[in-house]
Symmetry: C2
Subunit: 409 residues, 2 copies
C-alpha cells in the first residue's frame, strides 16, 4: 500500500520536480481517512473563472460514477470558477446508485464551501473497486479544505492521490510566446492497472494559456494517443482513468493554433506518462518498444502493444535474457499484418534477427549486455509498409505478484 | 527446465493414466540430444495404412516450419501408412529456409527408415524459438528409432515431448458402438505460452474409429472451440501449436455422424486441455470462468478470456483474495457489450455482486473461504442476453516469473 513500498528503482533522480505555479490555480489537501490513515488522501484544486477544462477518460464499460459525471460536465460554459476534487483509497466504482449519490454529495459540498457552480466541479476517486465510498468523510472536511487553498501546494496534491505509487509524479514546461511566458504544470498517479484506452490514469495538468474548449479538447485527445495511450504496465484497464487539462487563460496568451504550445503540452504529457511506467508495479526496467515497417500506424501499435503486454517477453526482460524468440511470438499473435520472413528485430543497437531468422553474426553477448541495463529498447521492423508506433512499458517481476496478491489486505 | 521443476500441485492424482492401446498405432522414443541430455527428446508414432489424419494449428503469423508443412499435408490421400515425429528442446520456429530444410531432412529420414511416404509424415518441434534445429541429431537416430516401435509406448511418447511441463498428460475414452469397442487415447504437452487461437499446444490423439478426413476434420475443428481454444495460462500464443487426431479405422466401426463418438472425443480433448492448465507455469489454483447472459457466445468468450488473462485477477487468486472489483475491471475492458448496472458476479456459490453493486448480505468470509480452495470458480452474468462461455485458466504466481525469467539459461 502507499508508502509501504520501496521507491521504484526507475524513479526520476532528484525527487519531485520544482513545478512552476500556474496563475489562477490553487491547491489544498487533507487527511480525510477515506481508507488510509496518517496521510493526506483528498486534494482540491480551485480554478479561476474562465478556465477552459478538457479531458479524456477510460473507455471501460464498467467506468466509475465520477468518470460519468466528469464526461457529462465537459464542454459547458466556462465563465464561472471551477474545481477538481480527488480522493484516494476508494474508486467509487461499481457502486450503483450509491456511487452517483456520493458524487452528488461531494460536489454539492465543494460548491457550497468555495462558491463554485456544481456543474463546474470535477471529481475522481482511485483505490479499491466495489466498496461504497464513505463520502461523509470527505464532505465533513471540505469546508476546512477550502480554507487552506494555496497556489504553491501542487506537490502535496500530487502525493494525496497516490495509491500503490511509490513516488509522486510531476512535470512542467515553460515557453515564451510573443515575448510572454506560458506555463504548463501537471501531475499524475498510476502504477498498476495501467493500459489506458483513449484515456489514462489520474492526470491533472494546468496552464495559464488561453484557448477555448473547442480547441483544447481535440488537442488533448490527439496528444493522448502518443502519450498516455502508448503506455502499459500490465494490460489491465482501469475503471477510473481520467485526464483533465485546465487552461486558466491568466497569461493572456492566446495559443489557438500555436504548435509550440501543443508541443510543450505533449512534452508534459509524455513526461508524466513515462513516469507512470517508471512506477510500474514491481518494475526494474524501463522498456521502449519501437515498431516500424507496418502496414499502418494502427497495425504498428497493435504489434508494439502485443510485445509490451506479453508476460513471456516481460519476464525475459526481468531475467535480462535476450530471448528474442518471444518477441517473434508476440508479433505472431498480435493479429496485425505480418510476414515472418520479412521480420527484423533489434535489442538496443544489436541486430538480433533479420528477414525471418537470426541475424548474420548475431552477437548474443552484446544483446545480453543491453538487457542488463535499466533501459531496454526493443526494435521491430515488419518490413511491409510505412506504419510505425512506439510504446513504453516495464518488466514483469515477482514484485508485481507480491504487490497484487494482497493489495487489499 | 524439464525435470528440474517440482510437479504442479494441480497435477492429476495417480500419475499418468493407463491408456488403452489403439490398434494400428506404434510408438518409439529416443534420446537424440537435440538440447536436453539424459532424457528421451524425440518420439515417433507410426500409423497403419488408411489412417485418417485431421488437425488444427496455431494461427500465429510467425508459425514454425513444421506447422506450415503439416498444414500443407492435411487432407491428402490416406491409403498409405503415416507417421508423426516430434522433438522437444528446439521449436524450429523463425529459422527461415534452414527451418524448411530441417523439416525436409527429418521427414525424408523417417520415410526411408520405416517406409512411409514423405507426404504422410507430420512433424512438430517444441522448445526455444529462433535457433536453427540441429536436425542431423535427429536424422542420425531415426533408423534406430524405427526399429523400436511398439504399441505400448504411449507414456514414453508423452514424456519425450515435454519441455517446461512438470508431468506428462494423457487421457482416453472407450465406448461401444453396435456392440464393438472403439478406443480413443491421446497425450499433450504444454505449460506456458498457452493461449491457443483455434489451435492448441502439441496434442496427439489416436483412435481406431473409422471415418474419412471430410468428416474428421470439421469434428476436430468444432470440438477445439470448447476445449483447447477455451484455455489460457498466460495469454501468449505459441508459434507451434499443433493438434493431430489420427483415426486408424482398425476397429472396423464407422463413426460418421455418431454423436457418442464425438462426445467421447470431446471428453479426451477436454481432459487434456484441462491438464495443460493444471500444469500452467507456477500454477497453484485451477480456475473456471463461466460467463452467461452475454449478447452472444462470442461476447461471452471475450469477457471470459479478458478475466482469465487479467494479471490483476490472476494475482488476486494467487493471493486468495476475493477481490471481485478486478473482475469488474476485466469485464469493463473486454470490449464486449456490457452494462455495468446489470452485471452480477459470484465466487463459487457466493453471490458477491448483483446488478452493478455489491450483493445484499455479501459474505466476504465465505467468498474468501472459496478462494482458499484449489479450484476457484468465477461466475459472471452480464444480464443482457443468452450468450455463454466457459474458459479455464490458472493463477499467476512468483513461480511463473521464476520459470520464465531464465528459461534459456
Amino acid at each position: 500500500m502507499a508508502g509501504s513500498l520501496p521507491v521504484s528503482p526507475l524513479a526520476p533522480k532528484g525527487g519531485f520536480p520544482d513545478l512552476p505555479m500556474v496563475e489562477g490555480v490553487r491547491f489544498a489537501t487533507i487527511a480525510a481517512g477515506v481508507k488510509y490513515t496518517g496521510r493526506a488522501d483528498v486534494m482540491l484544486a480551485e480554478l479561476a473563472p474562465g478556465t477552459t477544462i478538457a479531458g479524456t477518460f477510460t473507455r471501460s464499460k464498467t467506468r466509475a460514477a465520477p468518470v460519468l459525471d466528469c464526461q457529462a460536465k465537459l464542454g459547458g460554459p466556462s465563465d464561472a470558477p471551477g474545481a477538481i476534487l480527488v480522493n484516494s483509497g476508494n474508486a467509487n466504482a461499481f457502486t450503483g446508485i450509491k456511487g452517483v449519490e456520493a458524487v452528488e454529495a461531494v460536489t454539492a459540498a465543494v460548491a457550497s464551501a468555495i462558491n463554485v457552480p456544481q456543474a463546474r466541479i470535477f471529481t475522481a476517486s482511485t483505490g479499491v473497486i466495489g466498496e461504497p465510498l464513505p463520502h461523509e468523510r470527505i464532505t465533513s472536511v471540505v469546508s476546512e479544505l477550502g480554507k487552506s487553498l494555496s497556489p504553491d501546494k501542487i506537490e502535496d496534491a500530487a502525493k494525496a492521490i497516490m495509491t500503490t505509487d511509490t513516488f509522486p509524479k510531476g512535470a512542467s514546461r515553460q515557453i515564451e510566446i510573443d515575448g510572454k511566458p506560458v506555463t504548463i504544470s501537471g501531475f499524475a498517479k498510476g502504477s498498476g492497472m495501467i493500459a489506458p484506452d483513449m484515456a489514462t490514469m489520474l492526470v491533472y495538468i494546468f496552464t495559464d494559456a488561453k484557448l477555448p474548449f473547442d480547441e483544447l479538447q481535440p488537442m488533448v485527445s490527439g496528444l493522448c494517443e502518443g502519450t498516455f495511450n502508448s503506455i502499459t504496465v500490465d494490460s489491465d484497464t482501469s475503471t477510473s482513468d481520467t485526464l483533465l487539462v485546465a487552461a486558466t487563460g491568466t497569461s493572456g496568451v492566446d495559443v489557438v493554433g500555436n504548435g509550440r504550445f501543443a508541443a510543450a503540452l505533449f512534452d508534459v504529457m509524455d513526461d508524466l506518462a513515462k513516469q507512470v511506467v517508471r512506477d510500474g508495479e514491481g518494475a526494474t526496467k524501463f522498456v521502449t518498444v519501437s515498431v516500424k515497417g507496418a502496414a499502418s500506424d494502427a497495425d504498428a501499435k497493435q504489434v508494439a502493444m502485443s510485445i509490451a503486454n506479453s508476460p513471456l517477453v516481460k519476464t525475459a526482460i526481468a531475467g535480462e535474457d535476450a530471448n528474442w524468440g518471444r518477441v517473434v511470438m508476440a508479433v505472431g499473435k498480435s493479429g496485425a499484418e505480418a510476414d515472418r520472413d520479412r521480420l527484423s528485430i533489434s535489442f538496443g543497437k544489436v541486430a538480433v534477427a533479420r528477414n525471418g531468422q537470426v541475424a548474420d553474426g548475431y552477437d548474443e553477448a552484446a544483446a545480453t549486455e543491453h538487457m542488463k541495463g535499466q533501459d531496454v529498447n526493443i526494435g521491430v521492423d515488419l518490413g511491409i509498409g510505412d506504419g510505425s508506433s512506439t510504446v513504453y512499458t516495464c518488466d514483469l517481476t515477482a514484485g508485481y505478484i507480491a504487490i497484487n496478491a494482497d493489495y487489499r489486505s
